[in-house]
């Protein structure tokens, strides 16, 4: 069963800007799906159409098999959305914002109070429940929008750059929370600029550019497409000279850091044997660049 099925979606704005040109996309129930693309690629337009903030020019959108045009109410009940920009009343109290959202979904006030408590506690906002939203920090505002998006227990959660402008610690916390939601059976669609985020969280990734999907596959398959990888190695002792090795490019970043680039098909053992032969002991090793980032840049060029 597809949680989301988009077929031949087109959108041309009144200004004449063609934002989407025949987007077709399927997201399986239970997937953690990443939608990546540069600014203005059409990511937010797709989310806008799914959530009916943007009217489509052509195409169909189905949520768990239900056409959003024909089964407007039932389909919408299954979607939760966390937008890119803050869109709550800054004068209202945190818990009121979440309870009201539940009310719009027809959830009784009693149930809404319970559900808001559950998610405000999970997102560490319970202490702020009686504070006006304008007094929250940027990270808290983002978490408030996540709580609001979940209060009616949607089966499909769509997050549009949820960690933009959030500090590293909080971002990691949000990742853990989203992974837990996904493990518990919720389908998640995420757009992000942080490719590291997509690599960490998503099991399927689509890349959109200029209103068209240019790649749509599993993360594993996508990473396999990379033909070269660059690593950084921290050494125990100072290294001054490095012997060359066929099909591998070595360089010294500093006296105790080696950088090497190899073909993906090559074994890494061969490189360690080569370094061992020169009595170079490697303490630790890491990817130099985000692997997905390299691929992303290639695809959107």
């Amino acid at each position: 069963m597809f949680a989301l099925s988009i077929s031949n979606l087109h959108k041309t704005y009144k200004s004449g800007l063609k934002a989407l040109s025949g987007v077709t996309l399927n997201v399986q129930d239970g997937e953690f799906f990443g939608l990546l693309g540069p600014n203005g690629a059409g990511k937010t337009t797709i989310i806008g159409i799914i959530t009916s903030l943007v009217t489509k020019t052509e195409g169909t959108v189905n949520i768990f098999g239900m056409d959003i045009d024909k089964n407007f109410s039932s389909a919408k009940r299954l979607i939760g959305v966390v937008p890119q920009e803050y869109n709550f009343s800054i004068f209202e109290k945190v818990q009121d914002i979440v309870i009201q959202q539940a009310g719009y979904y027809g959830i009784s006030r009693k149930e809404a109070v319970k559900s808001s408590e559950k998610y405000l506690k999970k997102l560490s906002l319970w202490d702020k429940r009686n504070v006006a939203a304008r007094e929250l920090s940027g990270g808290m505002k983002r978490r408030l929008m996540i709580a609001r998006g979940l209060v009616h227990e949607p089966k499909l959660l769509i997050l549009d750059e949820p960690t933009a402008g959030v500090d590293v610690e909080l971002r990691r916390g949000m990742w853990d929370f989203l992974e837990e939601l996904n493990r518990n059976g919720r389908t998640i669609i995420l757009t992000t600029h942080y490719l590291e985020e997509a690599e960490q969280l998503c099991n399927k990734i689509a890349i959109i550019t200029k209103g068209k999907i240019v790649e749509n596959t599993s993360k594993r398959e996508m990473l396999r497409k990379l033909d070269k990888e660059t690593f950084l190695c921290d050494t125990k002792e100072v290294v001054t000279v490095l012997a060359p090795l066929e099909n591998v490019t070595f360089s010294l970043v500093d006296e105790k850091t080696i950088e090497f680039t190899k073909n993906k098909s090559q074994s890494i053992n061969r490189i360690f044997e080569h370094l061992n032969g020169q009595s170079i002991i490697v303490d630790s090793m890491r990817n130099k660049t985000n692997r997905l980032e390299e691929l992303f840049i290639k695809m959107v060029k």
Binding site: T55, K76, N87, Q101, G103, Y104, Y105, G106, S108, R148
Partner: protein, 256 residues
């Protein structure tokens, strides 16, 4: 389905009412002060120098008009400012992404406009008792005209809010259309005192029917046929409600 819609409606209505009473210094107090000044200046100082109209003192004649004027302006300004600020802060999206039907959104916002309009109407009526003992000729007409007029102007305010793109846009219609039509709608005079041409022209002003009908409920005198007034208000209610629904369905001003 209906139960869910009712919950959505009560959520919007509750939010609107919380807003009105949270900022009562902006929403409730200023109109009451303004209308009190009208009573003192026009009813007291100037009115005492004027002769009776249709057997009632000038103060008694203008009191229903002043109450209706406050209902009109406050019903309108509540929905236009509330709906526009919801658009401006983009929290209208909270409603648009939800399954709330458009008719529920309209009724929710109208409930806010009517709550404020009628509340201020009641407050102004209480204030008027300080100046004059108003008769109640027929309470049915008072309630009916107050209710329908508040409904119509709440809808008009919402339509203004739907089209408004900046804060200036929410004050143009009240300043250049509603205020002149209200002042020329027989609040301070009976249109029967006007030359025939101006009487005919005044009858093209819908506010004349609202004020006259409301005044009829208090004093039992009217410049127009009461049932024509009721018919017009019902017609306006249906037309503006349908137009508001159409605009929301088309996404005018709220969807891209």
């Amino acid at each position: 389905m209906m139960k869910r819609s009712l919950t959505s409606f009560s959520t919007i209505a509750r939010k609107e009412m919380t807003r009105i009473f949270r900022i009562w210094m902006q929403t409730l107090v200023p109109p009451v002060i303004m209308i009190s000044l009208y009573f003192i200046i026009f009813g007291g100082f100037i009115g005492s120098q004027l002769s009776d109209i249709s057997g009632y003192s000038y103060m008694a004649f203008i009191a229903p008009g002043l109450i209706m004027m406050s209902i009109i302006t406050n019903s309108y300004s509540n929905t236009v400012s509330s709906f526009f600020s919801t658009k401006f802060q983009r929290n209208i999206e909270e409603l648009l992404v939800s399954p709330t039907p458009n008719w529920v959104i309209v009724l929710g916002y109208i409930s806010g406009g009517m709550t404020r309009g009628i509340s201020i109407g009641i407050l102004v009526s209480i204030v008027s008792l300080v100046f004059i003992r108003l008769p109640f000729f027929n309470i049915f007409y008072i309630v009916l005209f107050a209710f329908l007029t508040s409904f119509v102007f709440s809808l008009a305010g919402m339509i203004n809010g739907i089209f408004a793109k900046k804060f200036d846009d929410i004050s143009i219609i009240p300043t250049f259309v509603i205020t002149p039509l209200t002042y020329l709608g027989g609040v301070f005079y009976s249109i029967s005192l006007l030359p025939e041409f101006w009487q005919t022209l005044s009858k093209a002003n819908p506010i004349v029917y609202m004020i006259s009908g409301f005044r009829y409920g208090f004093l039992g005198i009217s410049d127009i046929n009461i049932w024509t007034g009721i018919g017009m208000l019902i017609l306006f209610s249906v037309l503006l409600f349908s137009l508001t629904l159409y605009l929301l369905k088309k996404g005018i001003g709220i969807r891209t």
